[in-house]
């Protein structure tokens, strides 16, 4: 290890430092300034994100070949930091009315971001696993932090039990691959499979178990049953964080492991993934149609989005991975934003996220209404939004690789999904408001929402820069 190695993981180090400072500052300054640890977290994560994107991304590997330092890693590190910072911005309003300790909350949030960053840049299945567990353990706790709400703790427990269960599958898969190939490093695995020395029954079974583990982590049907409950039980800020960050982290892993390292064996798993993708998007959408709670609706819709993202893995080309990256960035903006508006509008309601609670909000709170409308349109995939190009790129990559039917099913699904997203817009704009609708709207919060909706539109008009950069960054 030398200075170069340390500089390469500088963003990770900054995030850890943020985690430590956040908890200390909370103890030291709580009496005077309740939002001190929030400020530290937002600032620290933003700095880390900027460092990640600004640092020169070579394809060289760091830490004796355990960590990728490529452009893909940089993009995702920055994305995770941004998601974390955004979640932190949304958190104060939410936490103010709930009995949650701020220092621990922000500290765990930062450590969770650290775990995701490790997942994004790991070049070794073991390191990926360590990152995954760091993220998961922080999330188990964060989900259960609303201790006066039994849904929260139970969601946390459910998440932990199934998370640990799926981790065991992931690990067993790793062990069998290790037995078949003799290494856990992506590059070595890829090389061994190219020489076709490693494709034995053990490797294939290992890949199968790995797939089960991943399917749990991205909540693909039929391994999705935990996620709606967990998403509903968790503090809403954490739901937003999980549905974007944790999903993105799992997908980077999926791209690096299945898309690249195991690409040679794809005849063994492409069929399974195709079916998984179709079932996931269809069931996610159909279930979302029936929900009356917007929070739960968004939870199911995030399952559907995992299905769309799987299309990118199935397509398995460089363009498809760049498309998945674009999709994940766009999805993070729109889904976080949607949850952000929801949190602000429901800040005093005791977990009442029913669609009726949004009646007429579009006219009462014009800025929030407009941003929410943009987020919803982007989630449907109407141009010119980032969501449209995310879907377009992913599906066109699939068609390019000959998965025409999969793309058509995906497209039809997005038409089905339009219904429940539209319902949100129509309730906000076309119904009369009821009762007391006064809320506090902190400036920074609003600015974050406006910035992300502007970004969605800008990406929807000029996606070229980003997609070209991602295409260059794909390993």
């Amino acid at each position: 290890m030398n200075l170069n190695d340390v500089m390469g993981v500088l963003p990770e180090l900054i995030v850890i430092l943020t985690a430590l400072i956040a908890i200390i500052v909370d103890v030291a300054a709580r009496e005077r300034n309740a939002s001190a640890s929030q400020g530290v977290t937002v600032l620290g994560l933003l700095v880390a994100g900027v460092v990640a994107i600004a640092s020169p991304a070579e394809t060289a590997m760091l830490m004796s070949g355990q960590v990728f330092n490529d452009g893909f890693a940089s993009w995702f590190r920055a994305l995770f930091c941004a998601i974390g910072a955004m979640t932190a911005v949304f958190s104060l309003v939410y936490l103010k009315h709930r009995n949650i300790r701020l220092g621990e909350y922000y500290s765990l949030l930062a450590m969770c971001v650290f775990g995701m960053m490790v997942m994004g840049s790991a070049a070794n299945l073991l390191l990926f696993f360590v990152g995954l567990e760091t993220m998961s353990i922080s999330l188990y706790v964060l989900v259960g932090l609303r201790r006066d709400d039994s849904g929260s703790v139970e969601g946390s427990l459910k998440y932990l039990v199934l998370g640990a269960f799926s981790s065991a599958f992931l690990l067993y898969g790793m062990a069998l691959i290790y037995g078949g190939i003799g290494s856990l490093e992506y590059v070595v695995i890829g090389d061994a499979l190219r020489d076709s020395t490693g494709i034995g029954p053990m490797t294939v079974t290992g890949i199968g178990l790995l797939l089960v583990g991943f399917a749990f982590k991205i909540s693909a049907v039929p391994f999705h049953f935990w996620s709606p409950d967990v998403y509903e039980g968790a503090p809403t800020t954490i739901t937003a964080f999980m549905s974007t960050g944790a999903k993105a982290a799992a997908f980077v892993g999926l791209i690096r492991v299945f898309g690249i390292a195991l690409a040679e064996t794809n005849e063994h798993w492409v069929g399974v993934l195709t079916v998984l993708s179709i079932v996931t998007m269809t069931l996610g959408n159909v279930s979302a149609l029936r929900q009356t709670s917007v929070k739960r609706m968004l939870a199911y819709s995030s399952i559907a989005h995992a299905g769309y993202l799987l299309v990118g893995i199935v397509a398995g080309s460089k363009a498809a991975f760049a498309a998945s990256g674009f999709y994940l960035i766009g999805y993070a903006l729109m889904n976080l934003g949607a949850f952000g508006v929801l949190i602000l509008l429901n800040q005093r309601g005791k977990g009442d996220y029913s669609i009726d609670s949004l009646r007429g909000m579009g006219t009462v709170h014009p800025v929030l209404g407009l941003t929410m409308a943009i987020f919803m349109l982007s989630l449907i995939g109407i141009p010119p939004t980032a969501g449209f190009f995310g879907k377009l790129f992913v599906f066109s990559a699939a068609i390019e690789r000959g998965h025409l039917l999969l793309a058509i099913i995906g497209l039809l699904n997005s038409a089905v999904a339009a219904y429940y997203y539209l319902r949100v817009i129509s309730t906000m704009y076309m119904a009369k408001p009821e009762g007391d609708v006064a809320i506090t709207e902190p400036m920074g919060y609003k600015v974050a929402l406006v910035i992300s909706s502007i970004l969605i539109i800008v990406l929807g008009m000029f996606p070229d820069q980003l997609v070209a950069a991602l295409l260059k960054a794909v390993p």
Binding site: T363, I382, L411, D464
Partner: protein
């Protein structure tokens, strides 16, 4: 007239717009109707006026984009963009059941258009820009390189055709239309009938015919029969409507049936007639909706039975309504006559049976419109409120007068318009005949 800019070079999408004889008059219609609609809603829209104009102009931009796009991608984006303002226009400023209507409208269109996107993407990967050697969305290249095998053509025809058929709307995909028309504000109905429906027929002309000629030939009987059913069904259902707006909405189904029939007659008269009839329908039906809007503002009801004897209190209004109704029916010296006549000629030339059935549709159109006219304007005034109705003001009449002048002009002297349409249609027919020829030869490249 062509404008071209690089938009998303990494996927070869270009900001590529242009106008030819097919799109020219549709564009003129779009811009004209938008201005008239905004004039017409001057006194009728009172709340959220800023947003109303924002959405209307966004809608206009989308429609112009659709008609002017020379890039498949731009076409699709504009096609979708126009959904959003229409969704809000119906949903916010619409009538009682506006939520249901607007979501139905959105979902129907969206369902069709996603399949079209799949088709567009498929074509993208089979179209190569000779300059750069990469795939491109360029519409002209896509058209000239579109010699697909017959089964591929069939699928692509269906993918595009479904999106267009929903928009037209072709029977039995028309169910969104009466709801959307009825619930939309007056100006929304005008634009919906006048322009939005034309996007579907325009799509058939621009995409299906030149790009998938063999498949088109195969589908001619299907589409022709569906159009004929649409003509008859639309007219019969219109006859029994109690709501004036619904009646006009169903008449649109019938009229668009004519347009589709003319298009799929696949000869010069049919194509010219159908293109002209698209403009005519925009003018006549637009004017009808505006007229219905005038009495609706006064009485807040559109039920035919609530009126009666209106001619006595609103003579100018009654006269205007008569002229517009006659133009919609297709009486000589009005625009409708020229269009329908050309279409019927084309239909007879391609298949006598089609021509016969379609002619009977013309008669039905006279029945339902004149019957409604009789019930609304003649007879005794049974409802007290109707005796005090103010006649149409000059401000209200102005947009309608503009449309009437146009209608008569086209009815009397359509040559300048037809002369501009024909070269483009001729070009289209040639391309189509090539396709037909290669099918006769049994030569199927690719």
């Amino acid at each position: 007239m062509v404008e071209k800019l690089h938009w998303i070079p990494s996927i070869g999408a270009e900001w590529h717009l242009g106008v030819d004889g097919i799109s020219l008059f549709l564009l003129v219609l779009t811009t004209l109707l938008t201005v008239l609609c905004l004039l017409a809603s001057w006194h009728t829209i009172h709340e959220r006026v800023q947003e109303y104009h924002f959405f209307f102009l966004l809608l206009e931009a989308g429609m112009i984009g659709v008609f002017a796009a020379l890039d498949l991608f731009v076409f699709y984006v504009m096609w979708e963009v126009m959904l959003v303002p229409m969704f809000f226009l119906i949903g916010v400023w619409g009538g009682q059941r506006r939520l249901y209507a607007t979501i139905k409208f959105f979902l129907f269109t969206m369902a069709g258009s996603v399949l079209m996107l799949a088709g567009i993407l498929y074509m993208y990967f089979h179209t190569v820009d000779p300059e750069t050697g990469r795939n491109t969305f360029n519409l002209l290249l896509a058209t000239s390189q579109s010699n697909y095998a017959i089964d591929v053509q069939r699928w692509l025809f269906l993918a595009f055709g479904l999106a267009f058929a929903i928009k037209v709307p072709l029977f039995p995909l028309h169910t969104w239309l009466p709801d959307a028309h009825t619930e939309a504000p007056t100006a929304g109905s005008v634009i919906l009938a006048g322009v939005l429906l034309k996007m579907g027929t325009y799509g058939f002309l621009r995409f299906c015919l030149p790009m998938f000629p063999q498949a088109t030939l195969e589908f001619v009987p299907w589409i022709s029969w569906l159009s004929l059913i649409g003509i008859t069904y639309g007219a019969l259902v219109a006859m029994v409507q109690k709501d004036m707006k619904k009646l006009v909405a169903y008449s649109s189904v019938a009229h668009l049936g004519f347009v589709m029939l003319g298009t799929f007659a696949l000869n010069q008269q049919g194509l010219t007639g159908s293109l002209l009839q698209q403009i005519n329908h925009g003018i006549s039906t637009g004017a009808l909706f505006l007229l219905v809007g005038v009495v609706y503002e006064r009485r807040h009801t559109r039920i035919i039975a609530d009126y009666g004897g209106v001619a006595k209190v609103m003579p100018v209004y009654a006269a205007l309504f008569m002229i517009v109704a006659l133009s919609s029916i297709g009486l000589p010296i009005t625009n409708g006559f020229v269009g329908e006549f050309l279409i019927l000629m084309g239909a007879f030339a391609s298949n006598k049976l089609y021509g016969v059935i379609a002619t009977s549709g013309v008669i039905l159109a006279a029945v339902y419109l004149l019957w409604m006219y009789q019930r609304v304007f003649y007879g005794q005034i049974v409802h007290e409120e109707n005796s005090k109705l103010r006649d149409i003001t000059l401000f209200e009449a102005a947009p309608i007068l503009v449309l009437i002048v146009l209608a008569i002009w086209i009815g009397v002297y359509p040559d300048p318009i037809l002369a501009r349409m024909e070269p483009s249609l001729q070009l289209l027919l040639e391309k189509f005949q090539q396709g037909e020829f290669s099918q006769l030869q049994g030569v199927l490249p690719r």
